[in-house]
Protein backbone atom coordinates (compact mmCIF):
# COMPACT_ATOMS: atom_id res chain seq x y z
CA UNK A 1 0.00 0.00 0.00
CA UNK A 2 2.91 2.33 0.76
CA UNK A 3 4.31 1.99 -2.76
CA UNK A 4 0.87 2.21 -4.37
CA UNK A 5 0.07 5.46 -2.51
CA UNK A 6 3.42 7.03 -3.42
CA UNK A 7 3.16 6.06 -7.08
CA UNK A 8 -0.43 7.30 -7.23
CA UNK A 9 0.54 10.68 -5.71
CA UNK A 10 3.57 10.98 -7.96
CA UNK A 11 1.54 10.24 -11.11
CA UNK A 12 -1.13 12.78 -10.17
CA UNK A 13 1.51 15.40 -9.37
CA UNK A 14 3.25 14.67 -12.67
CA UNK A 15 0.06 15.32 -14.63
CA UNK A 16 -0.69 18.56 -12.80
CA UNK A 17 2.87 19.82 -13.19
CA UNK A 18 2.49 19.59 -16.94
CA UNK A 19 1.50 23.05 -18.21
CA UNK A 20 -0.37 21.68 -21.21
CA UNK A 21 -2.72 20.01 -18.75
CA UNK A 22 -4.08 23.38 -17.64
CA UNK A 23 -5.20 23.93 -21.21
CA UNK A 24 -6.68 20.44 -21.52
CA UNK A 25 -8.36 20.51 -18.13
CA UNK A 26 -9.71 24.01 -17.80
CA UNK A 27 -9.29 26.20 -20.87
CA UNK A 28 -10.55 23.65 -23.41
CA UNK A 29 -13.79 22.78 -21.51
CA UNK A 30 -14.53 26.48 -20.98
CA UNK A 31 -13.96 27.20 -24.68
CA UNK A 32 -16.20 24.28 -25.55
CA UNK A 33 -18.88 25.60 -23.17
CA UNK A 34 -18.70 29.08 -24.71
CA UNK A 35 -19.05 27.69 -28.23
CA UNK A 36 -22.03 25.52 -27.30
CA UNK A 37 -23.77 28.36 -25.46
CA UNK A 38 -23.13 30.51 -28.53
CA UNK A 39 -24.87 27.92 -30.71
CA UNK A 40 -27.75 27.88 -28.26
CA UNK A 41 -28.11 31.68 -28.34
CA UNK A 42 -28.13 32.03 -32.11
CA UNK A 43 -30.53 29.12 -32.69
CA UNK A 44 -34.23 30.08 -32.73
CA UNK A 45 -36.17 28.86 -29.70
CA UNK A 46 -38.61 26.10 -30.51
CA UNK A 47 -40.90 24.02 -28.37
CA UNK A 48 -41.30 20.36 -29.01
CA UNK A 49 -45.10 20.44 -29.33
CA UNK A 50 -46.76 21.19 -32.63
CA UNK A 51 -50.23 20.65 -31.19
CA UNK A 52 -51.84 19.75 -27.89
CA UNK A 53 -53.97 16.68 -27.44
CA UNK A 54 -56.74 15.65 -25.07
CA UNK A 55 -56.83 11.86 -25.24
CA UNK A 56 -60.15 10.15 -24.48
CA UNK A 57 -60.46 6.57 -23.36
CA UNK A 58 -63.82 4.77 -23.31
CA UNK A 59 -65.57 6.86 -25.94
CA UNK A 60 -65.31 6.77 -29.72
CA UNK A 61 -65.13 10.02 -31.61
CA UNK A 62 -63.37 11.45 -34.64
CA UNK A 63 -60.34 13.68 -34.21
CA UNK A 64 -61.78 17.00 -33.25
CA UNK A 65 -60.32 20.49 -33.03
CA UNK A 66 -61.65 22.25 -29.92
CA UNK A 67 -59.65 25.45 -29.91
CA UNK A 68 -56.10 26.76 -29.59
CA UNK A 69 -53.50 27.67 -27.03
CA UNK A 70 -50.35 29.74 -27.72
CA UNK A 71 -51.04 29.54 -31.47
CA UNK A 72 -51.19 25.74 -31.28
CA UNK A 73 -54.31 23.75 -32.00
CA UNK A 74 -55.95 21.63 -29.31
CA UNK A 75 -57.29 18.30 -30.55
CA UNK A 76 -59.43 15.61 -28.98
CA UNK A 77 -58.40 12.09 -29.95
CA UNK A 78 -59.83 8.69 -28.92
CA UNK A 79 -57.47 6.01 -27.65
CA UNK A 80 -58.09 2.32 -27.16
CA UNK A 81 -55.13 1.49 -24.93
CA UNK A 82 -55.71 1.21 -21.18
CA UNK A 83 -54.90 4.54 -19.46
CA UNK A 84 -52.07 3.01 -17.40
CA UNK A 85 -50.47 1.58 -20.54
CA UNK A 86 -51.06 4.63 -22.69
CA UNK A 87 -49.50 7.00 -20.18
CA UNK A 88 -46.24 5.01 -20.33
CA UNK A 89 -46.08 5.26 -24.11
CA UNK A 90 -44.08 7.78 -26.14
CA UNK A 91 -47.37 9.29 -27.44
CA UNK A 92 -48.38 10.69 -24.07
CA UNK A 93 -46.35 13.86 -23.68
CA UNK A 94 -45.94 15.85 -20.50
CA UNK A 95 -48.42 18.55 -21.51
CA UNK A 96 -51.04 16.11 -22.83
CA UNK A 97 -54.14 15.13 -20.89
CA UNK A 98 -55.88 11.76 -20.75
CA UNK A 99 -59.59 11.52 -19.93
CA UNK A 100 -60.74 8.14 -18.72
CA UNK A 101 -64.38 7.90 -19.73
CA UNK A 102 -64.81 4.20 -19.00
CA UNK A 103 -66.93 4.85 -15.91
CA UNK A 104 -69.62 7.29 -16.93
CA UNK A 105 -70.28 8.44 -13.39
CA UNK A 106 -66.65 8.89 -12.41
CA UNK A 107 -64.55 10.50 -15.08
CA UNK A 108 -60.81 10.52 -14.37
CA UNK A 109 -58.65 13.21 -15.88
CA UNK A 110 -54.91 12.44 -15.90
CA UNK A 111 -52.56 15.39 -16.28
CA UNK A 112 -49.17 16.67 -15.15
CA UNK A 113 -49.73 19.12 -12.36
CA UNK A 114 -46.28 20.72 -12.58
CA UNK A 115 -46.67 21.51 -16.25
CA UNK A 116 -48.61 24.75 -16.76
CA UNK A 117 -49.86 23.76 -20.23
CA UNK A 118 -51.05 20.39 -18.96
CA UNK A 119 -52.85 22.09 -16.04
CA UNK A 120 -54.52 24.49 -18.45
CA UNK A 121 -55.51 21.64 -20.78
CA UNK A 122 -56.98 19.81 -17.81
CA UNK A 123 -59.43 22.72 -17.32
CA UNK A 124 -60.23 22.64 -21.04
CA UNK A 125 -60.84 18.87 -20.79
CA UNK A 126 -63.04 19.42 -17.76
CA UNK A 127 -65.28 21.90 -19.63
CA UNK A 128 -65.30 19.76 -22.75
CA UNK A 129 -66.34 16.64 -20.82
CA UNK A 130 -69.21 18.52 -19.13
CA UNK A 131 -70.33 19.77 -22.51
CA UNK A 132 -70.34 16.39 -24.25
CA UNK A 133 -71.76 14.71 -21.15
CA UNK A 134 -74.87 16.90 -21.21
CA UNK A 135 -75.13 16.58 -24.98
CA UNK A 136 -74.80 12.81 -24.95
CA UNK A 137 -77.18 12.10 -22.11
CA UNK A 138 -79.44 15.18 -22.33
CA UNK A 139 -79.90 15.50 -18.61
CA UNK A 140 -80.66 11.82 -17.99
CA UNK A 141 -77.54 11.38 -15.86
CA UNK A 142 -76.96 14.61 -14.01
CA UNK A 143 -74.90 13.00 -11.23
CA UNK A 144 -71.53 13.06 -13.01
CA UNK A 145 -68.49 13.29 -10.74
CA UNK A 146 -64.95 14.28 -11.78
CA UNK A 147 -61.77 12.85 -10.41
CA UNK A 148 -58.75 14.89 -11.38
CA UNK A 149 -55.94 12.41 -11.34
CA UNK A 150 -52.41 13.67 -11.47
CA UNK A 151 -50.27 11.60 -13.83
CA UNK A 152 -47.55 9.64 -12.11
CA UNK A 153 -44.29 11.39 -11.32
CA UNK A 154 -42.44 8.44 -12.79
CA UNK A 155 -43.71 9.27 -16.20
CA UNK A 156 -42.91 12.93 -15.80
CA UNK A 157 -39.42 12.17 -14.54
CA UNK A 158 -38.67 9.84 -17.39
CA UNK A 159 -39.72 12.55 -19.74
CA UNK A 160 -37.47 15.09 -18.02
CA UNK A 161 -34.48 12.77 -18.11
CA UNK A 162 -35.16 11.35 -21.56
CA UNK A 163 -32.70 13.58 -23.39
CA UNK A 164 -29.92 13.30 -20.87
CA UNK A 165 -30.40 9.53 -20.60
CA UNK A 166 -29.87 9.38 -24.33
CA UNK A 167 -26.84 11.68 -24.29
CA UNK A 168 -25.04 10.76 -21.06
CA UNK A 169 -23.32 7.55 -22.23
CA UNK A 170 -21.87 9.40 -25.19
CA UNK A 171 -21.07 12.54 -23.22
CA UNK A 172 -19.25 10.50 -20.61
CA UNK A 173 -17.55 7.87 -22.71
CA UNK A 174 -16.14 10.15 -25.39
CA UNK A 175 -14.05 12.35 -23.05
CA UNK A 176 -13.25 9.36 -20.84
CA UNK A 177 -11.78 7.24 -23.63
CA UNK A 178 -9.93 10.23 -25.06
CA UNK A 179 -8.47 11.17 -21.67
CA UNK A 180 -7.58 7.64 -20.67
CA UNK A 181 -5.94 6.93 -24.01
CA UNK A 182 -3.87 10.07 -23.54
CA UNK A 183 -2.89 9.54 -19.90
CA UNK A 184 -2.35 5.76 -20.12
CA UNK A 185 -0.15 6.12 -23.21
CA UNK A 186 1.96 8.69 -21.43
CA UNK A 187 2.03 6.75 -18.19
CA UNK A 188 4.19 3.85 -19.40
CA UNK A 189 4.98 4.08 -23.12
CA UNK A 190 5.70 7.81 -22.73
CA UNK A 191 7.95 7.06 -19.77
CA UNK A 192 9.81 4.43 -21.79
CA UNK A 193 10.31 7.02 -24.52
CA UNK A 194 11.69 9.55 -22.04
CA UNK A 195 13.75 6.92 -20.21
CA UNK A 196 12.01 7.44 -16.87
CA UNK A 197 10.36 4.02 -16.70
CA UNK A 198 13.58 2.17 -15.76
CA UNK A 199 13.83 4.01 -12.47
CA UNK A 200 10.34 2.78 -11.58
CA UNK A 201 11.16 -0.77 -12.69
CA UNK A 202 14.30 -0.76 -10.54
CA UNK A 203 12.58 0.51 -7.41
CA UNK A 204 11.66 -1.94 -4.65
CA UNK A 205 7.95 -1.67 -5.32
CA UNK A 206 5.85 -4.72 -6.12
CA UNK A 207 4.48 -4.95 -9.67
CA UNK A 208 0.95 -4.88 -8.22
CA UNK A 209 1.58 -1.56 -6.43
CA UNK A 210 3.23 -0.03 -9.48
CA UNK A 211 0.49 -1.11 -11.88
CA UNK A 212 -2.37 -0.26 -9.52
CA UNK A 213 -0.83 3.12 -8.71
CA UNK A 214 -0.73 3.95 -12.39
CA UNK A 215 -4.21 2.56 -13.15
CA UNK A 216 -5.88 4.49 -10.33
CA UNK A 217 -4.10 7.73 -11.11
CA UNK A 218 -5.15 7.47 -14.78
CA UNK A 219 -8.72 6.49 -13.76
CA UNK A 220 -9.28 9.30 -11.30
CA UNK A 221 -7.66 12.01 -13.35
CA UNK A 222 -9.70 10.98 -16.40
CA UNK A 223 -12.91 10.88 -14.40
CA UNK A 224 -12.09 14.28 -12.92
CA UNK A 225 -11.38 15.70 -16.36
CA UNK A 226 -14.62 14.28 -17.79
CA UNK A 227 -16.44 15.55 -14.70
CA UNK A 228 -15.27 19.07 -15.55
CA UNK A 229 -16.80 18.73 -19.03
CA UNK A 230 -20.10 17.43 -17.68
CA UNK A 231 -20.12 19.99 -14.85
CA UNK A 232 -19.71 22.77 -17.38
CA UNK A 233 -22.51 21.28 -19.48
CA UNK A 234 -24.81 21.39 -16.44
CA UNK A 235 -23.77 25.03 -15.97
CA UNK A 236 -24.49 25.65 -19.65
CA UNK A 237 -27.98 24.18 -19.26
CA UNK A 238 -28.67 26.43 -16.28
CA UNK A 239 -27.44 29.44 -18.28
CA UNK A 240 -29.75 28.56 -21.17
CA UNK A 241 -32.67 28.00 -18.80
CA UNK A 242 -32.10 31.31 -17.01
CA UNK A 243 -31.88 33.27 -20.26
CA UNK A 244 -34.67 31.50 -22.10
CA UNK A 245 -32.32 30.07 -24.74
CA UNK A 246 -32.79 26.63 -26.17
CA UNK A 247 -30.98 24.05 -24.04
CA UNK A 248 -28.53 22.28 -26.30
CA UNK A 249 -26.79 20.56 -23.39
CA UNK A 250 -29.69 18.33 -22.39
CA UNK A 251 -29.46 18.88 -18.64
CA UNK A 252 -32.46 21.21 -18.22
CA UNK A 253 -35.10 19.75 -15.94
CA UNK A 254 -32.95 16.72 -15.06
CA UNK A 255 -34.05 15.03 -11.87
CA UNK A 256 -31.47 12.76 -10.26
CA UNK A 257 -31.49 11.82 -6.60
CA UNK A 258 -28.26 11.61 -4.59
CA UNK A 259 -28.45 7.80 -4.60
CA UNK A 260 -28.85 7.74 -8.37
CA UNK A 261 -25.97 10.19 -8.80
CA UNK A 262 -23.74 8.04 -6.61
CA UNK A 263 -24.76 4.93 -8.55
CA UNK A 264 -23.82 6.61 -11.84
CA UNK A 265 -20.53 7.77 -10.30
CA UNK A 266 -19.73 4.28 -9.04
CA UNK A 267 -20.30 2.67 -12.42
CA UNK A 268 -18.41 5.50 -14.15
CA UNK A 269 -15.49 4.81 -11.81
CA UNK A 270 -15.59 1.10 -12.63
CA UNK A 271 -15.66 1.95 -16.31
CA UNK A 272 -12.67 4.28 -15.84
CA UNK A 273 -10.78 1.56 -14.02
CA UNK A 274 -11.38 -0.94 -16.84
CA UNK A 275 -10.41 1.50 -19.58
CA UNK A 276 -7.34 2.56 -17.65
CA UNK A 277 -6.21 -1.01 -17.06
CA UNK A 278 -6.63 -1.78 -20.74
CA UNK A 279 -4.78 1.43 -21.61
CA UNK A 280 -1.91 0.57 -19.26
CA UNK A 281 -1.73 -2.98 -20.66
CA UNK A 282 -1.46 -1.66 -24.22
CA UNK A 283 1.01 0.98 -23.10
CA UNK A 284 3.26 -1.70 -21.54
CA UNK A 285 3.91 -3.21 -24.95
CA UNK A 286 4.52 0.04 -26.83
CA UNK A 287 7.82 1.85 -27.19
CA UNK A 288 6.48 5.39 -27.23
CA UNK A 289 3.32 7.36 -26.44
CA UNK A 290 2.46 7.80 -30.11
CA UNK A 291 2.54 4.09 -30.78
CA UNK A 292 0.41 3.47 -27.67
CA UNK A 293 -2.19 6.02 -28.73
CA UNK A 294 -2.47 4.43 -32.17
CA UNK A 295 -2.76 0.98 -30.58
CA UNK A 296 -5.58 2.27 -28.39
CA UNK A 297 -7.59 3.69 -31.25
CA UNK A 298 -9.63 0.50 -31.86
CA UNK A 299 -10.58 0.44 -28.16
CA UNK A 300 -11.62 4.10 -28.27
CA UNK A 301 -13.64 3.53 -31.44
CA UNK A 302 -15.34 0.40 -30.10
CA UNK A 303 -16.30 2.22 -26.88
CA UNK A 304 -17.64 5.21 -28.79
CA UNK A 305 -19.66 2.87 -31.01
CA UNK A 306 -21.11 1.12 -27.95
CA UNK A 307 -22.09 4.50 -26.50
CA UNK A 308 -23.69 5.56 -29.78
CA UNK A 309 -25.66 2.33 -30.01
CA UNK A 310 -26.90 2.90 -26.46
CA UNK A 311 -27.98 6.42 -27.42
CA UNK A 312 -30.55 5.04 -29.83
CA UNK A 313 -31.86 2.36 -27.52
CA UNK A 314 -35.43 2.74 -26.33
CA UNK A 315 -37.35 0.81 -23.69
CA UNK A 316 -35.84 -2.06 -21.76
CA UNK A 317 -33.07 -4.38 -22.96
CA UNK A 318 -32.77 -8.17 -22.79
CA UNK A 319 -30.75 -9.34 -19.82
CA UNK A 320 -27.93 -10.60 -22.07
CA UNK A 321 -27.25 -7.03 -23.18
CA UNK A 322 -26.08 -6.39 -19.64
CA UNK A 323 -23.10 -8.64 -20.33
CA UNK A 324 -21.77 -6.66 -23.30
CA UNK A 325 -18.79 -4.63 -22.05
CA UNK A 326 -19.15 -0.84 -22.14
CA UNK A 327 -22.62 -1.09 -23.70
CA UNK A 328 -23.83 -2.57 -20.42
CA UNK A 329 -22.62 0.45 -18.46
CA UNK A 330 -24.27 2.79 -20.96
CA UNK A 331 -27.61 1.06 -20.49
CA UNK A 332 -27.15 1.09 -16.71
CA UNK A 333 -26.74 4.88 -16.87
CA UNK A 334 -29.95 5.07 -18.87
CA UNK A 335 -31.80 2.74 -16.51
CA UNK A 336 -30.77 4.87 -13.55
CA UNK A 337 -31.93 8.06 -15.25
CA UNK A 338 -35.21 6.42 -16.29
CA UNK A 339 -35.69 5.02 -12.76
CA UNK A 340 -36.05 1.48 -14.06
CA UNK A 341 -33.10 -0.04 -12.27
CA UNK A 342 -33.38 -3.77 -11.69
CA UNK A 343 -31.17 -5.41 -9.12
CA UNK A 344 -30.56 -8.47 -11.35
CA UNK A 345 -29.30 -6.27 -14.20
CA UNK A 346 -27.10 -4.18 -11.95
CA UNK A 347 -25.61 -7.30 -10.38
CA UNK A 348 -25.01 -8.81 -13.80
CA UNK A 349 -23.10 -5.69 -14.90
CA UNK A 350 -21.17 -5.46 -11.63
CA UNK A 351 -20.13 -9.12 -11.78
CA UNK A 352 -19.10 -8.91 -15.43
CA UNK A 353 -17.07 -5.77 -14.67
CA UNK A 354 -15.31 -7.33 -11.70
CA UNK A 355 -14.48 -10.48 -13.70
CA UNK A 356 -13.09 -8.34 -16.53
CA UNK A 357 -11.13 -6.20 -14.09
CA UNK A 358 -9.61 -9.30 -12.46
CA UNK A 359 -8.67 -10.91 -15.79
CA UNK A 360 -7.20 -7.67 -17.14
CA UNK A 361 -5.16 -7.11 -13.99
CA UNK A 362 -3.85 -10.67 -14.10
CA UNK A 363 -2.79 -10.28 -17.74
CA UNK A 364 -1.17 -6.91 -16.97
CA UNK A 365 0.81 -8.35 -14.07
CA UNK A 366 1.96 -11.30 -16.16
CA UNK A 367 2.95 -8.95 -18.97
CA UNK A 368 4.86 -6.69 -16.60
CA UNK A 369 7.89 -8.97 -16.52
CA UNK A 370 7.80 -9.61 -20.25
CA UNK A 371 10.93 -8.80 -22.25
CA UNK A 372 8.88 -6.44 -24.40
CA UNK A 373 8.37 -4.29 -21.32
CA UNK A 374 11.91 -4.29 -19.97
CA UNK A 375 13.96 -4.38 -23.18
Amino acid sequence: MHGLRLIFQHEIAKIFKDKSMIFGFFVLPILSLMITVGISVIRPTTTQAEEYTLYFYGINMDRLNIGELDEKQIYVVSVTEEPAVFMQSESFHKYDVLVDFSDLHNVNIYYHEEDTISSYLKSTADSFVREIYSELFRGRHPDISFRKVVAEDLNKKEDDNRLIAMLLPYMLILPLTANISNFASDSIAGEKQRGTFYQALLSPVSPLSLIMGKIWSVSLISLFSSGIYIGLDVLGSKLCEANGWEDVFGFAGIKVSTAEFLLILLYALLLCYLFSNLGILISLFCKNANQAQIAQLPVTLACTMAAMLAMFRFGTSPILHYLIPVYNICIVFQDVLHSRVKLANMMMVAISLFVMAFVLLAITLLSYRSEKVTE
Binding site: A13, Y198, L202, R369, E371
Partner: protein, 251 residues
Protein backbone atom coordinates in the same frame (compact mmCIF):
# COMPACT_ATOMS: atom_id res chain seq x y z
CA UNK B 1 29.59 -9.89 -3.13
CA UNK B 2 28.07 -10.85 -6.46
CA UNK B 3 28.51 -14.22 -8.11
CA UNK B 4 27.38 -15.01 -11.63
CA UNK B 5 27.42 -18.61 -12.79
CA UNK B 6 26.91 -19.67 -16.41
CA UNK B 7 24.53 -16.87 -17.17
CA UNK B 8 22.57 -17.20 -20.39
CA UNK B 9 19.98 -14.98 -22.01
CA UNK B 10 18.06 -15.75 -25.20
CA UNK B 11 15.49 -13.17 -26.26
CA UNK B 12 12.20 -14.85 -27.10
CA UNK B 13 11.21 -12.25 -29.65
CA UNK B 14 14.04 -12.76 -32.17
CA UNK B 15 15.67 -15.86 -30.65
CA UNK B 16 18.94 -13.93 -30.30
CA UNK B 17 21.38 -15.44 -27.79
CA UNK B 18 22.70 -12.20 -26.34
CA UNK B 19 24.51 -13.84 -23.47
CA UNK B 20 25.72 -17.45 -23.91
CA UNK B 21 27.88 -18.23 -20.92
CA UNK B 22 29.07 -15.58 -18.50
CA UNK B 23 30.58 -16.40 -15.12
CA UNK B 24 32.28 -13.93 -12.82
CA UNK B 25 32.62 -12.80 -9.26
CA UNK B 26 32.74 -9.29 -7.82
CA UNK B 27 33.85 -8.66 -4.24
CA UNK B 28 32.88 -5.93 -1.85
CA UNK B 29 35.22 -2.95 -1.87
CA UNK B 30 36.36 -3.51 -5.42
CA UNK B 31 35.68 -1.98 -8.80
CA UNK B 32 35.03 -4.58 -11.45
CA UNK B 33 35.14 -3.46 -15.08
CA UNK B 34 33.18 -5.32 -17.72
CA UNK B 35 34.81 -5.02 -21.11
CA UNK B 36 33.67 -6.13 -24.50
CA UNK B 37 33.08 -4.93 -28.04
CA UNK B 38 29.68 -3.62 -29.13
CA UNK B 39 27.05 -6.34 -29.08
CA UNK B 40 29.13 -8.63 -26.86
CA UNK B 41 26.37 -8.89 -24.25
CA UNK B 42 27.65 -6.43 -21.62
CA UNK B 43 24.45 -4.41 -21.36
CA UNK B 44 22.28 -7.54 -21.26
CA UNK B 45 24.46 -8.91 -18.45
CA UNK B 46 24.18 -5.60 -16.57
CA UNK B 47 20.41 -5.62 -17.01
CA UNK B 48 20.15 -9.12 -15.61
CA UNK B 49 22.32 -8.08 -12.66
CA UNK B 50 20.09 -5.11 -12.01
CA UNK B 51 16.93 -7.33 -12.07
CA UNK B 52 15.54 -5.67 -15.20
CA UNK B 53 15.82 -8.88 -17.23
CA UNK B 54 15.25 -12.49 -16.18
CA UNK B 55 18.07 -14.85 -17.21
CA UNK B 56 17.15 -17.80 -19.44
CA UNK B 57 19.46 -19.96 -17.32
CA UNK B 58 22.33 -19.58 -14.90
CA UNK B 59 22.47 -18.09 -11.46
CA UNK B 60 23.06 -14.65 -9.93
CA UNK B 61 23.67 -14.41 -6.20
CA UNK B 62 24.09 -11.40 -3.93
CA UNK B 63 26.01 -12.39 -0.79
CA UNK B 64 25.14 -16.02 -1.43
CA UNK B 65 21.40 -15.40 -1.87
CA UNK B 66 19.77 -16.13 -5.20
CA UNK B 67 18.46 -12.98 -6.87
CA UNK B 68 15.04 -14.59 -7.39
CA UNK B 69 14.57 -15.39 -3.69
CA UNK B 70 13.59 -11.85 -2.82
CA UNK B 71 13.72 -9.55 -5.80
CA UNK B 72 12.52 -6.47 -3.90
CA UNK B 73 15.17 -6.95 -1.18
CA UNK B 74 17.85 -7.12 -3.89
CA UNK B 75 16.53 -3.93 -5.47
CA UNK B 76 16.81 -2.14 -2.13
CA UNK B 77 20.51 -2.98 -2.08
CA UNK B 78 21.49 -2.09 -5.62
CA UNK B 79 21.68 0.95 -7.85
CA UNK B 80 21.83 0.85 -11.63
CA UNK B 81 22.85 3.84 -13.67
CA UNK B 82 22.86 3.94 -17.45
CA UNK B 83 22.71 6.72 -19.99
CA UNK B 84 19.16 5.62 -20.81
CA UNK B 85 17.89 6.39 -17.33
CA UNK B 86 16.19 9.75 -17.00
CA UNK B 87 14.06 11.28 -14.30
CA UNK B 88 10.66 12.97 -14.61
CA UNK B 89 11.40 16.39 -16.06
CA UNK B 90 8.51 18.18 -14.35
CA UNK B 91 10.06 17.68 -10.90
CA UNK B 92 12.94 19.33 -9.13
CA UNK B 93 15.89 17.27 -7.80
CA UNK B 94 14.59 17.95 -4.31
CA UNK B 95 11.14 16.51 -5.10
CA UNK B 96 12.66 13.54 -6.94
CA UNK B 97 14.96 12.74 -4.03
CA UNK B 98 12.04 12.84 -1.60
CA UNK B 99 9.93 10.61 -3.85
CA UNK B 100 12.58 7.96 -4.47
CA UNK B 101 13.75 8.06 -0.85
CA UNK B 102 10.20 7.30 0.29
CA UNK B 103 9.85 4.60 -2.35
CA UNK B 104 12.91 2.92 -0.82
CA UNK B 105 11.20 3.29 2.58
CA UNK B 106 13.94 5.55 3.97
CA UNK B 107 13.44 7.65 7.10
CA UNK B 108 12.73 11.32 6.34
CA UNK B 109 15.82 12.38 8.32
CA UNK B 110 17.96 9.92 6.35
CA UNK B 111 16.57 11.21 3.04
CA UNK B 112 17.40 14.77 4.08
CA UNK B 113 20.93 13.86 5.19
CA UNK B 114 21.81 11.78 2.10
CA UNK B 115 20.21 14.30 -0.21
CA UNK B 116 22.17 17.22 1.20
CA UNK B 117 25.42 15.29 1.06
CA UNK B 118 24.97 14.06 -2.53
CA UNK B 119 23.63 17.36 -3.85
CA UNK B 120 26.54 19.16 -2.26
CA UNK B 121 29.08 16.77 -3.77
CA UNK B 122 27.65 16.92 -7.29
CA UNK B 123 27.02 20.67 -7.18
CA UNK B 124 23.24 20.36 -7.45
CA UNK B 125 22.33 22.15 -4.20
CA UNK B 126 21.76 25.56 -5.76
CA UNK B 127 19.63 24.02 -8.52
CA UNK B 128 17.68 21.67 -6.27
CA UNK B 129 14.48 23.71 -6.69
CA UNK B 130 14.73 23.92 -10.45
CA UNK B 131 12.96 21.53 -12.80
CA UNK B 132 15.08 18.61 -13.98
CA UNK B 133 14.03 19.23 -17.61
CA UNK B 134 15.79 22.60 -17.61
CA UNK B 135 19.21 21.05 -16.83
CA UNK B 136 22.13 20.44 -19.19
CA UNK B 137 23.12 16.84 -20.07
CA UNK B 138 25.90 16.82 -17.49
CA UNK B 139 23.68 18.21 -14.76
CA UNK B 140 20.98 15.67 -15.59
CA UNK B 141 23.51 12.85 -15.36
CA UNK B 142 24.79 14.13 -12.02
CA UNK B 143 21.23 14.43 -10.70
CA UNK B 144 20.39 10.90 -11.90
CA UNK B 145 23.51 9.61 -10.17
CA UNK B 146 22.66 11.41 -6.94
CA UNK B 147 19.09 10.04 -6.97
CA UNK B 148 20.32 6.50 -7.78
CA UNK B 149 22.71 6.58 -4.85
CA UNK B 150 20.34 8.22 -2.40
CA UNK B 151 19.35 4.96 -0.71
CA UNK B 152 22.98 4.12 0.02
CA UNK B 153 23.16 0.87 -2.00
CA UNK B 154 25.76 -1.87 -1.35
CA UNK B 155 26.14 -2.63 -5.04
CA UNK B 156 26.37 -0.08 -7.80
CA UNK B 157 26.15 -1.01 -11.46
CA UNK B 158 27.32 1.63 -13.92
CA UNK B 159 26.75 1.22 -17.64
CA UNK B 160 29.00 3.69 -19.48
CA UNK B 161 28.91 6.15 -16.57
CA UNK B 162 30.90 8.95 -18.18
CA UNK B 163 29.66 8.75 -21.76
CA UNK B 164 28.94 12.12 -23.34
CA UNK B 165 30.05 14.13 -20.32
CA UNK B 166 32.58 16.94 -20.15
CA UNK B 167 35.95 16.31 -18.54
CA UNK B 168 35.00 18.08 -15.28
CA UNK B 169 31.89 15.98 -14.76
CA UNK B 170 33.81 12.83 -15.75
CA UNK B 171 36.41 13.53 -13.09
CA UNK B 172 33.76 14.27 -10.49
CA UNK B 173 32.04 10.95 -11.19
CA UNK B 174 35.32 9.02 -11.23
CA UNK B 175 36.27 10.47 -7.87
CA UNK B 176 32.91 9.51 -6.48
CA UNK B 177 33.27 5.95 -7.77
CA UNK B 178 36.61 5.69 -5.93
CA UNK B 179 35.00 7.08 -2.82
CA UNK B 180 32.29 4.42 -3.03
CA UNK B 181 34.98 1.76 -3.33
CA UNK B 182 36.67 3.07 -0.19
CA UNK B 183 33.33 2.79 1.60
CA UNK B 184 33.40 -0.94 0.80
CA UNK B 185 30.78 -0.93 -1.95
CA UNK B 186 30.72 -3.49 -4.69
CA UNK B 187 31.02 -1.65 -8.01
CA UNK B 188 30.58 -3.00 -11.51
CA UNK B 189 31.13 -0.75 -14.47
CA UNK B 190 30.89 -1.37 -18.13
CA UNK B 191 32.83 0.90 -20.44
CA UNK B 192 34.62 1.16 -23.75
CA UNK B 193 37.23 3.52 -22.34
CA UNK B 194 40.22 1.34 -21.47
CA UNK B 195 41.98 4.28 -19.80
CA UNK B 196 39.12 4.51 -17.35
CA UNK B 197 39.51 0.79 -16.62
CA UNK B 198 43.21 1.10 -15.89
CA UNK B 199 42.62 4.17 -13.70
CA UNK B 200 39.70 2.83 -11.67
CA UNK B 201 39.22 -0.92 -11.85
CA UNK B 202 40.78 -3.56 -9.62
CA UNK B 203 39.60 -6.49 -11.66
CA UNK B 204 38.27 -6.92 -15.15
CA UNK B 205 36.01 -9.30 -17.03
CA UNK B 206 36.11 -9.53 -20.81
CA UNK B 207 33.03 -10.68 -22.72
CA UNK B 208 33.25 -11.67 -26.38
CA UNK B 209 30.23 -12.94 -28.31
CA UNK B 210 28.24 -13.48 -25.14
CA UNK B 211 30.93 -15.50 -23.32
CA UNK B 212 33.24 -14.41 -20.55
CA UNK B 213 36.72 -15.03 -21.87
CA UNK B 214 38.77 -13.43 -19.11
CA UNK B 215 38.25 -12.65 -15.45
CA UNK B 216 41.13 -11.43 -13.34
CA UNK B 217 43.18 -8.50 -12.06
CA UNK B 218 43.57 -5.53 -14.35
CA UNK B 219 47.29 -5.58 -13.69
CA UNK B 220 47.49 -9.18 -14.89
CA UNK B 221 45.46 -8.70 -18.07
CA UNK B 222 48.35 -7.64 -20.30
CA UNK B 223 50.83 -10.22 -18.98
CA UNK B 224 48.28 -13.04 -19.22
CA UNK B 225 48.03 -12.39 -22.94
CA UNK B 226 51.80 -11.85 -23.39
CA UNK B 227 51.34 -8.25 -24.53
CA UNK B 228 52.43 -4.94 -23.02
CA UNK B 229 49.17 -2.95 -22.70
CA UNK B 230 45.59 -3.73 -21.79
CA UNK B 231 44.48 -2.36 -25.17
CA UNK B 232 46.54 -5.02 -26.91
CA UNK B 233 45.36 -7.66 -24.50
CA UNK B 234 41.73 -6.76 -25.17
CA UNK B 235 42.23 -6.88 -28.96
CA UNK B 236 44.02 -10.20 -28.69
CA UNK B 237 41.30 -11.71 -26.55
CA UNK B 238 38.69 -10.47 -28.97
CA UNK B 239 40.43 -11.81 -32.06
CA UNK B 240 41.13 -15.21 -30.54
CA UNK B 241 37.66 -15.76 -29.24
CA UNK B 242 35.76 -14.16 -32.06
CA UNK B 243 37.67 -16.23 -34.65
CA UNK B 244 37.04 -19.31 -32.57
CA UNK B 245 33.32 -18.56 -32.68
CA UNK B 246 33.45 -18.09 -36.44
CA UNK B 247 35.13 -21.50 -36.84
CA UNK B 248 32.52 -23.12 -34.57
CA UNK B 249 29.73 -21.59 -36.64
CA UNK B 250 31.35 -22.81 -39.89
CA UNK B 251 31.75 -26.33 -38.53
Amino acid sequence: MITIEHLKKTFKKNKVEAVKDVSLEVNDGEIFALLGPNGAGKTTTMRMLSTLLIPTSGKITYDGKDINEDLLAVRRRIAFLTNEIRLDGQFTPDELANYYGRLYEMEESQIKKNKEELFEYFGISEFSQRRYETFSTGMKQKTSLAICLLHDPDTIIFDEPTNGLDILTQQLIEKYILRLKQEGKCIILSTHILDLVSRLADRVGVIVDGRSVYCGNVSDLASSQNVSTIDEAFVKLYEENHVEQAIITKK
